[in-house]
Symmetry: C2
Subunit: 132 residues, 2 copies
DNA sequence: TTGACATATGCCTGTATAGGAATATATTCC
DNA sequence: GGAATATATTCCTATACAGGCATATGTCAA
């Protein structure tokens, strides 16, 4: 068997650095947030080509992969195609990696647990309870 | 050019579902947390083989990839090799995906912002301030 | 219709798998 | 040393890119 196709899911799609870069551009990294419905602002392919400085086919192909896994959505607008980020598909990645949080940041974990405990018990402040 | 090698970084390594599964086993999913230094408990390859039900070479090979990107660490113990999860390498993935949080859960984002604001200003409760 | 512009798709090549089977290496015990 | 155990590595094959280049498709304007 070969490697899973890049169009399998978000995990495989974002494995490619260029595609993460592309998503970053679509997210509006270092640009003013402007419009966009669910995700980032709408950008046409020409804008992305200019922004990323890649050959046009490369941009289109990467967009194709991202489209297939639902990480971006398109709407036609005349001869332009407006792409926007669909963050919803990144959620599985987030959820997965989040379950490992305790393996890299024990400090953070403790803080969160305390916060959650406080919220559950609705007790106002830090009473030195059973330490972890 | 071909696809980036799976041993490039955590992003490429976790693109493979089996490797995520393997990490899950090492993390101690549905098992009692027992020992382990920085990451999860130490498990030898035989345990993983039994747990996952995969052919031994497959387990070893996937472990090899995970080892190369630092997602797992090994120590020899007699003829056994004890593997443990090294969550630190998952952090870049977490950090990256986290920057897109606002694109999938606006509700959560607002809650967090409010919480952070409250904590910064150390003001006790919801005073209807400048809405976002 | 014709041409210009915007974007997608096809073709080609080198590279890199993932899995299966067989084998090599390392370590312990007798 | 030799057998048994634990794990890694090699070889093989089918698959799948990612990028470069050429070309097709779709849309608007004159």
């Amino acid at each position: 068997m070969a490697r899973s196709p890049t169009t399998t899911d978000a995990f495989t799609a974002i494995a490619e650095p260029r595609r993460r870069e592309l998503l970053g551009a679509l997210a509006g990294d270092r640009y003013a947030r402007s419009g966009g419905r669910t995700g980032g602002p709408e950008r046409d392919v020409s804008w992305l080509i200019e922004e990323l400085g890649w050959p046009q086919p490369q941009v289109s192909k990467h967009l194709g992969v991202l489209r297939k896994v639902g990480l971006v959505t398109v709407v036609r607008k005349g001869k332009r195609r407006m792409y926007s980020l669909n963050g919803e598909q990144l959620r599985p990645v987030y959820d997965w990696v989040k379950t490992y949080e305790r393996f890299w940041d024990h400090q953070l974990q403790r803080i969160k647990e305390r916060a959650e405990r406080m919220q559950r018990e609705s007790k106002p402040a830090h009473r030195p309870s059973t330490p972890t």
